[in-house]
Symmetry: C2
Subunit: 109 residues, 2 copies
């Protein structure tokens, strides 16, 4: 069974968190994940990218300390580390999650 490595709360840095959230696909994924109340299997959240690309994005989010991934049987279950991040960087992630989806993308892009 695949074991995922996660940074401890002390190892999480603000630049790392901001970098992980600076990609529209990852930001959108995190916003969707935040709206759901339980762990989600990979694939439960629709994304506009290939599965291999999404694996990369999930790795960036996990290594930055934003998501927790664990395996159960053949599934990988993903959840947000919102409580830990709010404790370390108060209001940073929660305020980012409040930004409407329509304001995430460049209207001129």
């Amino acid at each position: 069974m695949k074991q995922y490595q996660h940074p401890t709360i002390d190892q999480i840095t603000l630049p790392g968190v901001l970098h992980a959230l600076s990609d529209p696909v990852r930001l959108n994924f995190v916003q969707c994940l935040a709206k759901l109340t339980c762990e989600q299997p990979c694939g439960a959240i629709p994304t506009p990218v290939a599965k291999s690309t999404m694996s990369h994005h999930l790795r960036v989010l996990r290594e930055a300390g934003i998501v927790q991934i664990r395996t159960e049987g053949t599934q990988s279950l993903t959840s947000l580390r919102l409580d830990e991040l709010e404790k370390k960087f108060p209001n940073v992630l929660s305020s980012i999650l409040q930004v409407p989806e329509t304001d995430i993308l460049d209207k001129n892009g």
Copy 2:
């Protein structure tokens, strides 16, 4: 006299803002700028990088819509676009500015 281009508030995107702030040097510069109440000439805020590198960082911050730069005589004066950003993305920049400097850098880096 050099004229700097700035994105309008509508052109500013959240991924762009987060990317600009995901570099420790830029993040530290923005935190220092926020502590000062008026426009600052380039060079007034000490940074650990060469002048040419800082010019690049300032360009990234300006193009992301985080700072405003204008020339007065031979000086370039830099200020934060905090009010505009707070209106567009409530609490995002202000919560990032509240993170203590000691929590910005990776303690294991």
